[in-house]
Amino acid sequence: MLTNARLHALAGMMNAVSIPPFEHFYEQHRVEVLRVLRRRLGTERADDAFQETFLRALRAYRRLEHGEHLRAWVLTIAQNVALDALRRAKPTAELVESGAEDARPAYEELAALTDGLPPKERAAVVLRYGYDLSYEQIAAALGSSQDAARQATSTGVRRLRRSVSP
């Protein structure tokens, strides 16, 4: 039976995973995103990358299935935008090295976060939340069914959640 306390808990859970209005998401993360981009690209080039990051996020926002890990998600988009900008600016050979050496806390944090996952789950999580691929695309990339891709993603996320919370 649904007691009041349970209803309350359920409402709390639903709020936690519901997707906030983009305005709130943007206000909450814009300063950190700009800081990350300035560190990677310098003040001048960070502005364009900032706009590109939030436009990419907005483009994908409607297709999000829940509101968890939004900070990690937008920082990953910012890292990808920064990499694209560096790639455009430098010859490829240099890029690989500098990209690895320049890795900054947000990226390290993400890399470290998924590092402990089994390979398939790690790939599924990164493709889903790092590259915003659909389960159809992830299934194609992993050579598995859509159900299996979805399963690997959610198992990976659950495992991550367990590993980050005591």
Partner: protein, 185 residues
């Protein structure tokens, strides 16, 4: 470190220009106080006297999905027509309206409400009769009270059977101001 107003504005304009905003909003000035306006590609979706947008935004997400962003350009048409209205240069609104997520009874009442002319008043009972529910005056009152697009959908033109103003979600003084502007008082 802060995001400069210029960078912020550029992002919001780009998001609107690229058609990525499902519902854009802004707060604009008016002679009866600041107004919260929200519009989608379908049309004007909300006007509110409550300009603290947090609760508004949660509500708007349920109408249009989560791609809700403050974007002055998205409410340009509404802002322009409201300015003209408050300057006494406009008597009817040409804005298209987004009435998604409203129950059918509410929509039929609001459609009748939209036909009440500038400068005139009607009663809750008369409006109920016009939607074919002559005994539903109280329900019509509730629809007026929750009207998502006041001013443009002129619930200020609806008064009690005895001619008294009764009430207004935005406060009685605003109802009086609107009726005075229209020359109905």
């Amino acid at each position: 470190m802060n995001v400069s107003p210029d960078l912020d504005r550029r992002f919001r304009e780009a998001a609107f220009a690229l058609d990525l905003v499902d519902l854009g909003f802004d707060v604009v000035d008016s002679p009866i106080g600041p107004l919260f306006l929200a519009a989608s590609a379908r049309g004007l979706a909300a006007i509110s006297y409550d300009v603290e947008p947090d609760e508004q935004l949660e509500r708007l997400v349920r109408i249009a999905g989560p791609a809700v962003l403050r974007s002055p350009s998205s409410v340009d048409a509404a802002r322009r027509e409201l300015d003209e209205y408050f300057e006494g240069r406009r008597r009817t609104f040409d804005l298209s309206l987004d009435l998604r997520a409203l129950p059918p009874f509410t929509v039929s009442v609001l459609r009748e409400l939209a036909r009440v002319p500038y400068g005139e008043t009607t009663t809750y009972g008369a409006l109920a009769a016009r939607v074919g529910r002559p005994r539903a005056a109280r329900a019509v009152g509730t629809v007026m009270n929750r009207n998502r697009i006041p001013i443009v959908l002129p619930c200020h033109r609806v008064v009690g059977a005895g001619g008294d103003l009764v009430g207004y979600a935005g406060g009685l003084e605003r109802k009086i101001a609107l009726l005075e502007l229209e020359g109905a008082l």
